[in-house]
C-alpha cells in the first residue's frame, strides 16, 4: 500500500516557479489496478516520477507499507519494491536486452527465463535476447522491452508512465492483453498506469483524474469511466472536465 500525504511539487519555467503538483493526498491499495488519467500538463508524469524518486517533492510524505520512503533514493525505492516504466525508454549502446533483464531480475537468471518475459510482451525471444538496446530498435520494440524489465523485476508497486505512447495499433492490442494479464495477477501487489487510453481505463479497478496538479475526480471505474468517456477520446473528455473545474 502506498500513501501520498500532502505532496506538492514545483518547477521553474522561464524564471517563474510553477506549481505542478498541488497538495495531493491519496492511498493506493494493494491488489488494485489504478489508472491515473487527465489532460496533458496536468501533472500525471510528475506524480509518477515522485513515486519512483526521480523527482523530489517540495513538501509532503510518501509511505510504502508503513515505511516512510520520502528521503529514499531511486535505488533504495527500487529495492523497497517500486518499479517504474519510462514513457520514453532509454537506449544503451552495448547493453543487450539480456543484460537489461538480468539487471532487472536482480539475481542470476536463466536465459530461458529471460526469454519468458520477452514472450509475455509479444517479442520473439530468440530474435531479441542478444540485441543491443540501441537505436536499431523501434519505439514500439523498446516500449515492450521496457515493460519486460518491469515483469522481470516483479515489484510490489509498478508504475507505468503512458505505456501506450509511441506504440502502433498492432502493438497496442498486445499491450492491452499484457495489462489484462497483470490485472488478473495483481494479488499482493499494486499497479499504477498513467494513461489516456479508454481500453486501459477499462481494465482499472480505480480511476484518478488529475488536472492542473490536483485530483479532480477519483473513484471506481464504473463510476468514473462513464463521466469521462462518450466523446471522441478520453483525452477530449478530460479536457472538458478540466474546463468545468476551472469555471
Amino acid at each position: 500500500m502506498l500513501e501520498l500525504k500532502n505532496i506538492s511539487f514545483a518547477a521553474e519555467n522561464d524564471g517563474k516557479e510553477k506549481q505542478i503538483i498541488k497538495d495531493i493526498s491519496l492511498t493506493i491499495e494493494n491488489d488494485k489496478f489504478t489508472v491515473i488519467t487527465g489532460p496533458n500538463g496536468g501533472g500525471k508524469s510528475t506524480l509518477a516520477k515522485i513515486i519512483a524518486g526521480i523527482e523530489k517533492p517540495i513538501s509532503g510524505r510518501l509511505i510504502l507499507d508503513g515505511q516512510d520512503i520520502t528521503e529514499l533514493s531511486i535505488t533504495d525505492r527500487a529495492k523497497a519494491g517500486i518499479g517504474f516504466a519510462f514513457q520514453q525508454p532509454v537506449r544503451f549502446k552495448g547493453l543487450t536486452v539480456l543484460d537489461l533483464l538480468k539487471i532487472a531480475y536482480g539475481k542470476p537468471i536463466k536465459v530461458a527465463d529471460a526469454c519468458t518475459f520477452l514472450s509475455e510482451v509479444g517479442l520473439c525471444a530468440k530474435d531479441y535476447i542478444n540485441r543491443e538496446v540501441n537505436s536499431s530498435l523501434s519505439g514500439g520494440e523498446l516500449k515492450r522491452i521496457e515493460i519486460a524489465t518491469i515483469l522481470a523485476r516483479d515489484p510490489k508497486l509498478a508504475v507505468f508512465d503512458e505505456p501506450e505512447a509511441g506504440i502502433d495499433l498492432w502493438s497496442f492490442q498486445n499491450l492491452i492483453r499484457i495489462f489484462e494479464n497483470m490485472r488478473n495477477s495483481v494479488s499482493g501487489r499494486s499497479i499504477i498506469v498513467i494513461s489516456h487510453q479508454e481500453r486501459i481505463l477499462n481494465i482499472a479497478d480505480e480511476i484518478i483524474v488529475l488536472a492542473d496538479g490536483a485530483i479532480l475526480k477519483r473513484g471506481a471505474k464504473d463510476e468514473i469511466l462513464p463521466e469521462i468517456t462518450g466523446t471522441d477520446s478520453a483525452v477530449g473528455s478530460c479536457e472538458m472536465l478540466d474546463k468545468e473545474a476551472r469555471k
Binding site: A52, I54, S73, I74, T75, A78, K79, I82, G83, F84, F86, P89, V90, F92, K93, G94, L95, T96, D99, L100, I103, A104, G106, T149, R153
Partner: protein, 310 residues
Amino acid sequence: MSKVQLDEIQKRLIREVADLHDIPEGAYNFRANSSLAGRNTTANIDIKTKEDKPGIDIIIKEGTKNESVHIPVVLSQSGIKETVYNDFYVGDNADVLIVAGCGIDNCGTGDSEHDGIHRFFIGKGAKVKYVEKHYGSGDGTGKRILNPVTEVYMDEDSAMEMEMVQIKGVDSTERTTKAELKAGAKLVVHERLMTHGEQKALSIYDVALNGKGSSADVVSRSVARDNSYQKLDMCILGNDECSGHTECDSIIMDNGRILAVPSLEANSVDAMLVHEAAIGKIAGDQLTKLMTLGLTEQEAEEQIINGFLK
C-alpha cells in the same frame, strides 16, 4: 618445442591479454621479460627468431585453415625497455586467428616499456582475425608504457578483422596503425580504449584504400576517466572506387579530455567515405533507468561502461 615456464604473475598477465588459462593448441611464442619462454610450431605455421633485431617471423603457409597463433608478451620485472619486431607472412587463401597482447606488471620504480612493431603481409584471398589486448598492473611508481605500431599490407580480396583492446593499467600509449588495401580487400577494426588516472593515450589510424572495391570500417569506442587524456586520430584515404567508414564514439567522465580527429581524403570520384564522431558524458536518463532497477549510481555507471566497451 621448448617447455613454457612462467611464474604466477606472468600466468595472470597471460590470462588478461590472451584469455589463456593453459598452453594453447596450435602455434605459439611466449615472450617473458625479454626472452623466449616457450614456442610451438605446426606443419603449416613456422615461427623463427629474427637474426638482425629482436623479434620473430611468423610464416603461415598458403591455404592454412582454422589454425591459430598466440604470441603473448609479459613484462614482470620493473625497468625493462624493449622494442620487438614481429612480421607475419600470411599465405594466399589462409584462414587464421592471431592473438597478440602485452601485459606489464610493474611493482618497481623503473618504467617498463614494450614497443611492439607488427607487420602483416596478407596474401590474396586470405582471412585473418587479429586480437590484441594490452593490460597493465602493479602498484610501483614505474610507468607502464606500450607503443604498438601495426602495419597491414593486404593483397587482393583478402580480409582482416582487428580487435584492439586496452582497458586497464597502461600509463602511456601511442598506438599507430597503418593499412594499405589492394582491390577487393576488406578491413574491419574494432578498438576499445579506457584510460584513467593521469594516463595518456594516442591512437592513430591511417588507412589507404588503394584498390577497386576495397573497404574499411574503423570503429573506436573509448572512455576517458579521472584526469586522463585521449587523442583519436583516424584517417581514411580513398584512392579508387572504394568505401570507408570511421566512427569514434567516446564517453567522457570526471576531468577526462578527448580530442577526436576523424578525417577523410578522397582522391577518386568513386570513393565513398563517411566519418562519425561523438563525445559525451553518460546520459542522466541511462543512470536513472538502471537505478530504478535497483543499481546504485556507481553500479549503473559500471554497467553502462562495461556494455559500451564490450
